[in-house]
Structure formats: structure tokens, C-alpha cells
Symmetry: C2
Subunit: 377 residues, 2 copies
């Protein structure tokens, strides 16, 4: 017989999921109701309204996809890219690379703008790409690269796309709630995020938002959307006003309770206060990490407060340290991905994890493990 | 300011979600851990083992998709169907129709076998379809049509496909855990289900299972899978043995706790005992419904115990009755879909909802509302 699963109590300072507050956990344990229940319809309307607050948008089509951020990403591409459409994709980390995969699989024609991992996307390169490809229909980039901790200038990049008459797809998985994401001010056409980063909900939901221009493009498609599950033409009916609601799929009820509560908490704190808290906690962590002699991967101007990538000191077995942090301190931090595997650590300060107690624990634990490592070497 | 969401306490006797037991709700409120945490890897292995028990299979590739059943359906089609592949699709309700949509969107060539809504799929028609289409590569059908309550003979249908050398895709969303689903005995190649029916977990996860033959077909594909999120070539790496685990997407941690607990409960009860309970509760509900003069939509031989479709008596405003059941008794039952909208009710006896107390409430409440309706008419 299998026993019930009792997870260890961890402190989550990796690249996500972040710590989930008890209020959000409690919300997820409330009684399940049907997805067509009038009470659930109310819940959906409230979630949509609060997501608009978080995204700083008036977009009517703003809702959580019933699947993780990678499905939110795919929803943007399969709906906005038709076979043959040229798409400029900026790649400065893992998630730009995943965007490129999505363009290929929708039959789009990708034009790749590469920047070094750890650097921001270079607006001049994007300008040049549009100059060489005036027929490009979409620009896609990652606002906050979770694989490196670099933040790109979304306002500047979106402006280049607008001047070229192209739509913009924005990955704001790691930025939403932690640093300014201003969809309407930047005139973003499609954005996707995740529930498990600066919103501090359980993973598995992907908030998305689409502009009127994006909806026009979707309605004017000449080819059907290749995915049934992610076809916005169908989802539109499901998420539109309560009176006309039709059945599309069965929404994940209890995770939606959790997302609702995490957005209520964001509303209570205030979005700008949340940004300020992430910034302030980052400054404290940074001072401590530098005090331990650790160096940042990303240069200061492009550094994300909520994701601190630092180089592993030479001669240190990074996996052994992470393993010790987990087993001795119940502390999770992230490893490097791709080319950065083995070379960096990624320390998250996202949502509920962005607090003094976590910083204290992290610095103390890292210090202890690095000392031991040095003593053992 | 938005207030925390406090859902009403409902009794869920619709077509799903079903009542979620307190143990499963409590499990979902346990502390979130990372998706790469060794403890989460253990959880995943246990879920996979228990799903094999529920599916009656030894298939190594058995796991929950991080999204609802319609994404599980799409995973089966986008991986097993290549552009140009002929697929025989049986359509005797809404979900057969959705399968057809999936075939079209993957570029497959559908051959539709139609049966009346409320009837089982006719094996002779499938035999004839293979005779006219000996080059058909896949047979797809719904085991338990959630839109009508009809069960088809999966063993007989799968056998026809095997004799024709075709693969079989099985929708067992509503049957898994409630009536026998015997993947290995029937030699099914791909099956998908949902967490929110007879497993009584929250909606949002889709257990799937793939045979070795299916995996061979996927590995031998000439074209890439059109979906990144659902590409089994990538997911294989994520769900394979713990030692080699790679990052694909962030799994929905807390819903996985819930699914684990619901499978532990199924293991404790015993799969065959669960089937027997669904059958016994169905007999009781049936006696009561017939006592109220209500008639079943599906003929007895094809009737699903866990989904009881009955005709709305003539002259009765069915929506008004459902609304009264919900507001006065906190009882949810389902309406008809498609052509059956307004004509039938669907009363679920799935998982934790399949119990005497629910039957008593349902019969009492229905009786009261129908009497009032007659008095008012």
C-alpha cells in the first residue's frame, strides 16, 4: 500500500516555484465546485479583473490558461503565427530558445536575434533585423530570462515592433508581480506568465493577455489554429461574459482558488509596493552575496531583482552545495541551465519568498556550506 | 478590494467534477516543494505506479499530463497521427466529435463512424470502415461518452483495430476508476483520462498511458510533433527514470499531491471494489429514478453506472429545476449538451460522489422540485 505523501517543508529560493503562503494553500483546500457553477463564474470574473490589475492592462481577453507557462507560451504562438509568417525571435537564454521552437512548429519563418546568455536583448540588433526583414509580422522576446536573470527593455523593444507594424509577444513569466509589467503602456499584443513565480501560487496556471490588435489578427486567420486546447477562438467563448458562457474544458477549480487568493494578496499589498519590496530585498541579498565574495552573472543595469544569478566559485562542487542546502537547511536554490549548467546558481526572491527571513537563511546557509567546502578542499 | 473566495459547499452529481474528499483537499494544501526536489521525484514515481494499477497496465509511459483531459486527448492525437494518416473516428456524442476535430487539426484524414447519441459504438460499422479503409492507421473512440452516459465495448473495438494492424486511441475520461478499464488486456495503444471524474481529484490533470507500439510509432515519425508542450519525445525525458530526469515544464505541484492522495484512496478501497461500488450505487439510484417515473436515455446494456442520463419529463423547465436543486439543495446535476440540451439531465455517481447519502439527497431533492414544478404548471 502506498502511504499518503507528506512533503518536506522547504524554503523555495530557486527560479520558481516560490514559497506559497498559507493563505493560498488554505484556499486550495476549499470545497470543489463545478466549473459551470454561478459561484465559479464569479470567481473567474474576479480573477480576470485582478490579472488586469497585475498586467496593467484593460485587455478584455485576460485570463489564466489551465496549464503551465509553457502552454501559455504555445497559446500565443499558435494563435498569432500562421504558416509562412515571419517572426523575429530574440534569444538570450533558454526561454527565447523555446520561443524559437514554437515558431518552427507553427510553420512560422523565424529570424533569430542572438544575444549572449546573461545579457539583455540588444535593441539595435532588433532594429537591424526589422530593417532586413520589413515583412516580419511578429516580434517575440523574453522580458525576464529565468535561465540567466537578465531583464530586457520591453518598452524599447515593443516600440521597434510597433514602428515596423508588427505584433509583439512578451514572455513575462518571471517578471509579473515582481518588476513593472506595463502591457498597455508598452502596447504589448500578447503576454504570458506563470502562477508560481512572483504571484506565489502553485505552478500549473498561466495568466495570459491579448490586445484588440491580437484578436483582430486571430479572427482574420486564413488557417485554423493547430491546437484544439489552445485555440483562442474556442476559449474566447469560454471566458467571455458570464451570460454567454459555453463549455470548453473543465477548469482546474482548486488551483483557481489558489490563484485568486494570491491575487487578493497582491491587491492588498499594492502592485507598486510589491515591486518595491522585490527591489529592496534584492539589495539586501546582493550586499550579503557580495560580502561572501560571490559575483553576479548579469551586469547591474540588466539585473532582475527577483532572480539573482551568481557564479559558482572556482573549485566548488556546485551540485554538492545545492544538495547540502536542501538536506541540511531545507533550502532550494536553482542550478544553471544549458551552457550555464555547473557554472552558476540562480537564487530566487519571488513573491512570498522575497522576505528578510529567507535572505538571512540563504546567506547563513550558503556561508556555512562554502566554508565547509573550502575546509574540505 | 477583492475579498477571499469562499465557495459554497455543493454536492457534485453532474458529469464531473465529482465530490472531492477532505483527504484530497487536505493533501492539496500541503507545502509546495520544487518540481526538481528529490521528494517530488519520489511522488511522481508513486503516481505513475498507482496510475498503472488504475489503468491495469504495465506501460512504462503512464503519467498525468499537467493539464485537463482535453489536453490529454490532444497529446494522443498530435503524437500518434502524422499528416496524411487515415484515422477512423467513432462519434456517438460530444467527445467523439472533439476527437474528430483533433484529427483534422493534426492533418490526419478522418473516416467518421457515426452512431446515435446515447447508443454505443457499433462494432460492425467499425469493421466495415476498416474494410473500406484498409490503410487506416488509427482507431479512436470514447469508452464512456460523458455527454450521453453510453459505454462502448472497448475490448471488441480494439480487437478490430488490431486485426487491421491499426493503433487504438481510447478516451476513458469518465470510466477510469468507475468501470473496468483494462489497457493491457484490450491492447490499447494510447489512453487518456481526467482527474475529476471517478478519481475524485480536482480537475486539471489528465492521466495518460502509451504502449510500446505507440512509442515506436512516435519515435519513427517523419514530421515533428506540432505541439511543443505535448510532444512526447520531450516529455519522455521529463517522466523517465529519476536519475536521468531533465527539465521540461514546471509540474503543478499541489494538484499532484491531490491526485496522489486520490490514488492512495483508490488503492485502499481496491480497484475492483470501486467498480462494484459504482455498480451498486447505480442500481440504487436507478430504482429511485424509475420510482419517480423518470426514463433512462441509454438502453440498459450500454448504460454507464457512473453517469445516469435521464429524459426531462415533458412540460418541465429543466434549467429551472437544476437552478432550484443548486440554490435550495446545493446539489449540482448536469444538463444535456449539443442536440440533447434541454432534453436530458446527466446525474453523475463518480468516485466519492457514488454513495448512499448523495443518492438519498438527489432523489429527495428531485422529487421535491418535480412536485413543485407539477403543482406550479
Amino acid at each position: 500500500m502506498t502511504a499518503s505523501f507528506l512533503p518536506p517543508k522547504r524554503i523555495l529560493m530557486g527560479p520558481g516555484p516560490s514559497d506559497v503562503p498559507q493563505r493560498v494553500l488554505d484556499a486550495m483546500a476549499r470545497p470543489t465546485i463545478g466549473h459551470l457553477d454561478p459561484a465559479f463564474v464569479d470567481l473567474m470574473e474576479q480573477i480576470k479583473a485582478m490579472l488586469r490589475m497585475a498586467f496593467r492592462t484593460e485587455n478584455a481577453l485576460t485570463f489564466p490558461v489551465s496549464a503551465p507557462g509553457s502552454a501559455g507560451m504555445e497559446m500565443c504562438f499558435v494563435n498569432l503565427v500562421e504558416p509562412g509568417d515571419k517572426v523575429i525571435v530574440c534569444r538570450n537564454g533558454v526561454f527565447g530558445g523555446r520561443m524559437l521552437e514554437n515558431v518552427k512548429r507553427t510553420g512560422g519563418v523565424p529570424v533569430v536575434v542572438d544575444d549572449a546568455w546573461g545579457a539583455a536583448v540588444d535593441p539595435q540588433k532588433v532594429r537591424d533585423a526589422f530593417k532586413s526583414n520589413p515583412d516580419a509580422k511578429v516580434l517575440a522576446f523574453v522580458h525576464a530570462e529565468t535561465s540567466t536573470g537578465a531583464q530586457s527593455d520591453a518598452a524599447a523593444l515593443a516600440k521597434i515592433a510597433q514602428e515596423a507594424g508588427a505584433l509583439t509577444i512578451l514572455d513575462c513569466v518571471t517578471s509579473l508581480g515582481g518588476t513593472p509589467v506595463l502591457l498597455d503602456q508598452w502596447r504589448i499584443d500578447a503576454a504570458y506568465s506563470g502562477s508560481q513565480k512572483c504571484l506565489s501560487c502553485t505552478p500549473g496556471l498561466s495568466p495570459v493577455s491579448f490586445s484588440e490588435r491580437a484578436i483582430e489578427k486571430i479572427k482574420a486567420r486564413k488557417t485554423p489554429v493547430q491546437s484544439w486546447f489552445l485555440d483562442l477562438n474556442l476559449v474566447l467563448g469560454y471566458w467571455q461574459s458570464a451570460g454567454k458562457r459555453t463549455y470548453h474544458h473543465t477548469a482546474p477549480i482548486n488551483p483557481m482558488y489558489g490563484l485568486h487568493e494570491s491575487l487578493v494578496m497582491l491587491e492588498e499589498e499594492g502592485l507598486e509596493n510589491s515591486w518595491a519590496r522585490h527591489r529592496a530585498m534584492h539589495e539586501k541579498l546582493k550586499a550579503g552575496l557580495e560580502g561572501l565574495g560571490l559575483r553576479y552573472v548579469v551586469e547591474e543595469s540588466a539585473r532582475l531583482p527577483q532572480l539573482n544569478s551568481i557564479y559558482v566559485p572556482e573549485g566548488v562542487d556546485e551540485a554538492a552545495i545545492r544538495s547540502r542546502l536542501l538536506s541540511e537547511f531545507n533550502l532550494e536554490i536553482g542550478a544553471g541551465l544549458g551552457d550555464m549548467a555547473g557554472k552558476i546558481w540562480r537564487i530566487g526572491l519571488m513573491g512570498y519568498s522575497a522576505k528578510q527571513a529567507n535572505i538571512d537563511l540563504c546567506l547563513q546557509a550558503l556561508s556555512a556550506c562554502l566554508e565547509k567546502s573550502a575546509a574540505g578542499a
